[in-house]
C-alpha cells in the first residue's frame, strides 16, 4: 500500500499515513486537535478542515454548507487520504496557535510481538505434541498372525525406532477395521510425552494417508470473552480464530460473582456446562471457518485464570474467595476432551495450563510462556490489565508474581459512561486548549455511546496534561466552558458529547467520580508492580522491558498510560504488546512440547506474593492515588512537559 504525507497547518505538523486513512485519525495520530464530538460519524459537522492541496475522498455531507464545499472544506471524519495533502485546520484566534506548541506526546501504542513458528523450528524448539505417521504394514498370514495392535507397535518399533508405545482402548477397538479398510495402510497419530524417554500414546488410527491433516485448537477462557484458534500442526499457521462472550456472563460479570453462583446447588455444574457450550460453539465455528474435518483435530489446549479454569473443570473453588485464598490445585492432569463434554474426537486430550495461585492463573502462566519472558536475560515486567490485574516480574532465572484487584474501570465498570471496547466507544481523544472542545474518535467511527478503557486513560491523561484536571482528578472550576459543569448532586463533570450527537439519549460525560475510580484502578496496578519489585529487592526503575497483555493493552496509548501513572515512565520502545497472552501461550503449547515441559519448571520457579499480606502495599497504593503519583520525581519526562506547559501558560498570560 502506498503512503502519503499529510501536513497540518497552522500547526506545521506532518505525518505519514497509509492510503485510505481517515483524515481525523491522521490528525489524532499527529497530535493535531480538530473539534469532533460526534466520534467520526459526520453528525456534528465540527471537524471542518480545508484541503489546501492534494486529494481526499469523501468528506462531503449535508453538514457541510454548499459554499464551503467549493472552497475546499471537507469533514475530516468522513474524508480518506488519497495523496499527499496539506490541510488547514481552522483556529479561532491567534492564541489558539500558540497553544498548539504545547502539545502532549502523540499517540504511541506498544510494539506487537508475535512468536515466529519458523524461528521456533530453527531454534529446535519445535517438538510437536501430536504427530501423524503413515504406515504400510505387512498383512497377517497364518505364519505371522500377531495381534493387530502388536503388529502396529512392532512396525513402529522396527521401522521408526518408536519404543515405549501405549495403544489406547478406543484405538484397539477400531484398529481391526481401520487396518483392513485399505489393506493395512494406515496413519497413526502419536501423542508425544512431555519428557523425553516417556511413553508415546497411539491415540488414533485412520485408514490411508491423512498425514497432511493435523490440527490443534488453542483456547483462552476469559471471564468475559473466550477466544479460540485453530492451528495447523504442520505449518504452525493459525487457520482460523474466533471469539465469543463467555456465556457464564449471565451468572455474574466478575470472577467473584461466578464463584458465589458456583456455591449454589448445581451452580458449579451449570457454570461448567455453559462455558463448555461456548467453547463448543467456538470449536464448531473454527472448524467451519478453516474448512477442516473436525476429526482431524488432534489436540486442544486451554488457558484461563484460576476461576475460569476451575469452573470449566468443575473443581470446587469456594475457598478461592476466602482467606487465605487457597485453590484446590494449580496443576491439572491431562483430561480426555470428551470427558469435559467437548465436541471433539475421543482421541483428543485437553491440556490445561497450570496456575500459580488463586489469583494468578493459567492465563498469566500462558502469557509468560508464550511471550518467552521466561527465557529472557532482561528484567521484565509482565502486566495483564483487566478487572484483576496480574503482574509478573523476573527473567529466565527467577519469577515473582502478584495479583491486584484493579476494579472494573479499565473494562468500563464503575464509570458512568464506561463500556467495553465495542462500536461507539470513545477510544481516542484530544481537547482544544482554548475552547476546551473535544476531539472524540470512536470505535467504528459512529456516534459515541460511551468510553472504553483505553479511551478513559487517554481522556484523563489529556485533561490532566492540559491542566483541566489537577493531580487529584478535580476539574479547574474557573474554566469558562459549558462542557465543564456541576451536576445537581454537586459532582463536577466534563461533557464529551452533547445528547444530540450521541448514540444514546443523553449527554456523554466524565465525572470526578469516574476519574477517581480510574485513579484507584491505576493506583492498585502501579503499587502492585512497585510492591512486588520491592519484595524481590528491586525498584521500578530496574525494569528493562515491559510486556503488556490482555485485550485491553493493544489500544492503550503508552504515553498516556505513563501520564496517569498506570505504567512506570519508561522508553515506549521497551514496551511490547503481546495481545491475548493467554491465547498465545495456549497456541505455543499446542505447537511444541518444549513449552509444556518448560511450564513445569516455570510454575515451580514462580513465587506468588499475596499483596494483601504485604504491609507496604497499602502505603504504595495511597501514594499512587494521584495523577501520576505523589512522587512526581518518578515521572521526570512528564514533569518536564508540565513545567514547560506552565511556563508557556505564564508567557501567554503575560502576552
Amino acid at each position: 500500500m502506498s503512503e502519503h504525507t499529510v501536513r497540518f497547518l497552522p500547526h506545521e505538523k506532518s505525518i505519514k499515513v497509509q492510503d485510505g486513512e481517515n483524515l481525523i485519525r491522521a490528525a489524532m495520530d499527529a497530535g493535531v486537535h480538530i473539534n469532533a464530538s460526534c466520534g467520526g460519524e459526520g453528525v456534528c459537522g465540527k471537524c471542518r478542515v480545508m484541503i489546501e492541496s492534494g486529494e481526499v475522498e469523501g468528506g462531503i455531507t449535508d453538514r457541510l454548507k454548499a459554499g464551503d464545499r467549493e472552497k475546499g472544506y471537507r469533514l475530516a471524519c468522513r474524508a480518506s487520504v488519497r495523496g499527499d495533502l496539506t490541510v488547514l485546520v481552522p483556529v479561532e484566534s491567534k492564541v489558539d496557535i500558540s497553544a498548539l506548541t504545547t502539545q502532549i506526546p502523540p499517540r504511541k501504542t506498544a510494539v506487537i510481538r508475535q512468536v515466529d513458528f519458523e524461528e521456533l523450528k530453527e531454534q529446535g524448539l519445535f517438538l510437536p505434541p501430536v504427530e501423524k505417521i503413515y504406515l504400510e504394514l505387512p498383512p497377517p498370514t497364518a505364519q505371522d498372525n500377531l495381534p493387530d495392535a502388536t503388529r502396529l507397535v512392532s512396525h513402529l518399533s522396527i521401522n521408526y525406532n518408536e519404543h515405549r508405545l501405549v495403544v489406547r482402548l478406543p484405538v484397539i477397538r477400531r484398529l481391526p477395521d481401520v487396518l483392513r479398510e485399505e489393506n493395512f495402510k494406515i496413519t497413526a497419530t502419536l501423542a508425544r510425552p512431555v519428557h523425553e524417554g516417556r511413553k508415546s500414546h497411539i491415540i488414533n488410527v485412520e485408514s490411508g494417508d491423512t498425514t497432511g491433516q493435523n490440527y490443534a485448537i488453542a483456547v483462552d477462557i476469559g471471564t468475559t470473552t473466550i477466544y479460540g484458534q485453530l492451528l495447523d500442526l504442520i505449518s504452525g499457521e493459525v487457520m482460523a480464530e474466533h471469539g465469543l462472550f463467555n456465556a457464564q456472563i449471565s451468572y455474574g460479570e466478575d470472577v467473584i460473582s461466578r464463584i458465589v453462583h458456583a456455591e449454589k446447588p448445581g451452580g458449579l455444574e451449570r457454570l461448567s456446562k455453559v462455558v463448555t457450550e461456548t467453547i463448543n460453539e467456538i470449536i464448531a465455528n473454527l472448524v467451519k471457518k478453516a474448512a477442516v474435518d473436525c476429526d482431524q483435530i488432534s489436540a486442544i489446549t486451554f488457558a484461563g485464570n484460576t476461576t475460569m479454569t476451575q469452573l470449566f473443570l468443575q473443581i470446587n473453588l469456594k475457598y478461592i474467595r476466602r482467606a487465605p485464598y487457597v485453590p484446590a490445585s494449580t496443576i491439572y492432569p491431562p483430561i480426555k476432551a470428551t470427558v469435559l463434554g467437548l465436541h471433539l474426537g475421543d482421541h483428543v486430550t485437553a491440556l490445561v495450563y497450570p496456575a500459580i495461585s488463586s489469583y494468578v492463573g493459567g492465563d498469566i502462566v500462558a502469557g509468560v510462556m508464550g511471550s518467552g519472558m521466561y527465557r529472557t536475560e532482561k528484567l521484565t515486567l509482565y502486566l495483564d490489565i483487566g478487572t484483576n490485574a496480574e503482574v509478573v516480574v523476573g527473567n529466565k532465572d527467577w519469577l515473582a508474581c502478584a495479583a491486584c484487584s484493579a476494579g472494573p474501570a479499565f473494562e468500563g465498570g464503575g464509570v458512568e459512561h464506561g463500556m467495553r471496547a465495542a462500536k461507539g466507544a470513545i477510544e481516542d481523544f484530544l481537547i482544544d486548549p482554548i475552547t476546551l472542545e473535544p476531539m472524540n474518535i470512536t470505535i467504528g467511527s459512529v456516534r459515541p455511546v460511551g468510553i472504553c478503557g483505553s479511551g478513559l486513560i487517554t481522556i484523563v491523561a489529556v485533561l490532566f496534561e492540559m491542566g483541566i484536571i489537577d493531580s487529584q482528578g478535580k476539574f479547574d472550576r474557573d474554566l469558562d466552558t459549558p462542557r465543564i459543569r456541576k451536576r445537581e448532586d454537586g459532582i463536577w463533570e466534563y461533557v464529551l458529547a452533547w445528547e444530540d450527537i450521541t448514540g444514546i439519549d443523553r449527554d456523554i460525560t466524565l465525572s470526578e467520580i469516574d476519574i477517581d475510580n480510574l485513579i484507584r484502578a491505576k493506583g492498585a496496578i502501579y503499587s502492585g508492580c512497585q510492591t512486588l519489585l520491592e519484595e524481590v529487592g528491586l525498584g521500578i526503575e530496574d525494569v528493562e522491558e515491559i510486556i503488556l497483555a490482555g485485550g485491553f493493552g493493544s489500544f492503550v496509548d503508552l504515553a498516556k498510560a505513563m501520564t496517569i501513572g498506570l505504567l512506570p515512565e519508561t522508553d515506549p520502545e521497551k514496551v511490547t504488546f503481546i495481545g491475548n497472552g493467554s491465547l498465545m501461550g495456549a497456541k505455543m503449547s499446542s505447537l511444541t512440547n518444549r513449552i509444556r515441559r518448560d511450564v513445569v519448571e516455570v510454575t515451580r520457579k514462580m513465587t506468588n506474593f499475596e499483596l494483601s499480606e504485604t504491609t507496604s502495599y497499602m502505603d504504595h497504593y495511597v501514594a499512587a492515588l494521584f495523577l501520576p503519583h505523589t512522587d512526581l520525581g518518578k515521572f521526570p519526562r512528564l514533569q518536564k512537559r508540565l513545567d514547560e506547559k506552565r511556563a508557556a501558560k505564564k508567557m501567554n498570560a503575560v502576552k
Copy 2:
C-alpha cells in the same frame, strides 16, 4: 470333626470318612459297588445294605420293608456315618465276590492348590497395588496458603518419602471439602505403579481415617459363568464370593456364536452391556455379602478368554474367528471402571489380564500367574478344560501354549443326556461286573436328570475298564442285561437310570454316539498337549507336574481321566487342581503388583502355537481317537490292570 472307619463286607475294604458322610458316597470312594440307580434320593431302594455294627443316622424310608429295618438293613444313600461301621453289601452269588477283587482304582481327585497370602508376604511378593495412608496436614494460613493439592503432595513427599505423585481430576474436584471436613485429617488412596520409580496416582481422598477399609474385586469372565471375589487388601482374605451365569448366554452358548452376534448391528454394544450388567449384579452381591461400603473398593481386576474380554471391552473381534485368527490386541490398558459402566467409584481403575492369542486368553494367563507356574523349575503342563481347552507347557524359563477345540462334551454338550455340573447330574459311577447294575451318585443326591462332564469321564472309564465297551467305545453286544440295548435307529446304549426313578420323564442313557463325542473331545486335548510338547522338542513323558484348571477340573477323577486317555498317565500326586485359575490370577493381581509386573514378562515369553497350522496335530488326533489311545504303551498302569482283569476273567471262565 471326628473321623470314622467304615469296613465294607464281603469286599473287606475299609475307608476313613468324616462324621456325617453319606454311606453310599463312602462306598463309592472305597471303590465298593452298591446297586443305586436313582442317584441317592432313596427312590429306587436298591442300595439296601446291612449295618453289622456301629451307628448310622437315617437310611430308613418306605422303600425299606418293615422286616428288613429290624434286621439292620438301611438304604445306604440316605444313611450318614456316625461312628465306626461294619457294613455288609448283599451280593447275588459267589461269583460276585470274586469279581470284587478286580476293582478299578478308587476315586482320586487332584490336590487343590491355593495361594497363601502370608507366604506371599514372607516372600516379599506383597506389593499392594492400592494403598491407603492416613494424613494429618497442617491447615493453611495466610503465610502458608499452598493449593490444597500441593499441600497434600508436599506432605506426602516430606513425611512419607512419596515422590512422583499424580493427583487425578476427581480428587482435585473434591479435595477442598474433604480436607476441611475433619480439619485437614484425611486418608489418601494411592495407586502404585507396576514398575518401581514410576508415578503413583492419588486416586481418592476421604476425610478422617479409613485406612482400615480397603477392598478389591477380582472377576473371572467365563463364557458360561462369571465369578467374583471381594478381597480385603489388608488381610488378603476373600470376604465374599459370588457367581452368576453370564447373561450373554441368551445370545449363544459358545464364543463363536457370541462373536457372530457381536457382528450384527449393535451386537457388540449389546453383548458388552449384558455382561456388564451381570458383573454389576455380582459386585452388588459381593458388597452385600461382605457387608462393606462399595466406596471402599479401590480396585478391580478382570480375567477372561479373549472373546469374553473383548466383548466386555467392546473391542471389534470379528477377525478372531476368521483365519489367520488375529485379535485386535492382546494387551489392554488400564481403564476407568466407570467408563466400562461398572457401578464403582470414579477412582477405581479396572485392570484386564492380557491374552496370548485369539484362543489363549487372559483366563489362561491369569491361571499361569495365579498358579505360580511361571516361577517353577519343573516342566509343567497347565490344562484348562472346557469347550475350548487351553494347554500351556513350560516353566520359569519358557512357556508355550495352544488352544484346542474340544467341543462341548465336557460341559454336557453333544451328549444326549449331558448337562452342566448342576443338581441331579450323575457325577460318580460304578457298575456291578456281574449284574451290570449301575451305582449312580448325583450332585445334590437327588433323582438323576443327566450326566455332567466329570460323570461322563467316570462312566466311560468304568465301562471301558470293566470291558463293557471296547477301545473304540463300542458296547460288547453279547452282554446279557436289559440295560444294554439297541435303539430303534440302530445305535447301542446303556441305560443308567430307568424312567421311573429319573427326574425326567424318560430313561437316562449313554449311547455310542455320546461316547464317540467324548473320545473326540479327549482326543483333541491329548493330541493338543502332545503336539505342543513335540513342537518344543519334548514328549508327554517329560512332564513333571500337571496343573488342572477350570470349574470342571475339581470333580474329575484323575485315574479315570487317565483311563480314557484325557490326561497322560502319571502319578496322581503330580497333578494339582487350582480350581478357577482365571479367578485365582485375578485375585493375585488384586493383591500384589508383583504379578502385574511379571505378567508383562510372561506374555512376552509365552509362544503361541496354532495347532491348525501344525501338520502333526491331525496325526496325533487320529491316534488319540481310542480308549485310551492307539498306543497303549503310553498308559502302562492301565495296560497292567487290563491284563490282570483279562487273566481273572479267564480264571473265572475256567472255574
